[in-house]
Amino acid sequence: MDEEEVRSLFSEYLEGTLSPELRDEVQAFLSDNPSLAAELIQYERTLAILHRLPAREPVIDMWSAISPAAQEYKSQFRLTLKDKLRHKWHAFVATLSEGVILYTHTVASRAQARLGRHLLHSAPDRIKEGGSDA
């Protein structure tokens, strides 16, 4: 491992994404090369400053400039009667399908619960009956 190679691993070293073996190798190299270690500290400090810089916030309200385009978009958004009817039809079919699915699900859950209760109650009687037949 040479100096340039270690330098190319600075980012990954600081982000902790190096494998343990490689990290140990970098650490060993740095302990023998104080100038490169100092460079790493400088690199880390520079990144820390960047990371802590506050975001640039807009000081003017830009929506007023975008709003006309949004209104224009809405005005272009007029649907024909055919499209409106198609939309309503699809919405109706979707609601109906949702209702059918929910109803079927409820019926199935109830039937399953009833079957469970029935099996639990009738099982001892059947065992008794089976025993007396034998």
Partner: protein
């Protein structure tokens, strides 16, 4: 027989439902209704991060104009958003393309006006881009505004791609995956190019490093909070 399903409460069942990304839900609603108020919600949510990116890329008053153009473009091309990535990634991709196009156009214009190729495109009326002389910086950098100005100036000196990568990763804290989607670079390429960008920035920032006082950093923390 699954009797456990019976014992699960309604809360448990609700949490098991797949969650729809709220941004995608808003996009769908906007597509279906064209209601500007729906788009305004998305705009309010993303105006700051997009403006932040644009400001780091082009700076000055142009950042406002370009941010507005980005949102207008997003509004007009919202039907092309397929929902196969996050809305923010899609928006950032538009922002990235428009910033790079803007910078290219500005440079072409500058070239046509027979300025030097090495001149910064921000030169016209943008004194904010003047790089401060580190030797003249006798006092410590105690104000976060001053620090911002220096960082902006030094970033402006980097190539566009390097500036973009540093902004997305180190200033906007996006993940490598998101940056890869936005820039169209592979993950490995993003990492190696970002590393080169960071080294280039570090080289430029070195004279100022010792001058950055803890006051400026603590102010940064306060502003971030």
């Amino acid at each position: 027989m699954n009797l456990n399903a019976e014992s699960q409460g309604p809360e448990r069942r609700i949490t098991n439902l797949p969650r729809l990304d709220p941004d995608i839900a808003l996009v769908r609603q906007f597509r279906a209704t064209g209601n500007p108020e729906v788009f305004e919600i998305l705009f309010r949510k993303y105006q700051s991060p997009v403006y932040h990116l644009v400001h780091r890329m082009v700076h000055g008053e142009e950042a406002y104009d370009l941010t507005q153009e980005i949102f207008v473009k997003a509004l007009r091309s919202i039907f092309t958003f397929k929902g196969d990535c996050k809305f923010s990634t899609w928006l950032y991709t538009i922002a990235r393309n428009m910033c790079l196009n803007h910078l290219r156009d500005t440079r072409t214009r500058t070239d046509r006006e027979q300025y030097s190729l090495n001149d910064s495109p921000y030169r016209d009326g943008d004194s904010d881009r003047d790089i401060p002389d580190p030797s003249a910086d006798v006092e410590r950098i105690t104000e976060v505004r001053e620090l911002q100005r220096i960082v902006d100036s030094l970033l402006a000196d980097l190539p566009d791609e390097q500036r973009l990568l540093i902004t997305l990763r180190d200033l906007q804290h996006l993940s490598y995956d998101e940056i890869s989607d936005i820039t169209g670079l592979s993950l490995v390429n993003v990492k190696s190019k970002l590393h080169r960008a960071r080294l280039a920035f570090k080289g430029k920032f070195a004279p100022y490093l010792s001058a950055v006082g803890s006051e400026a950093l603590s102010q940064s923390e306060l502003v971030r909070k």
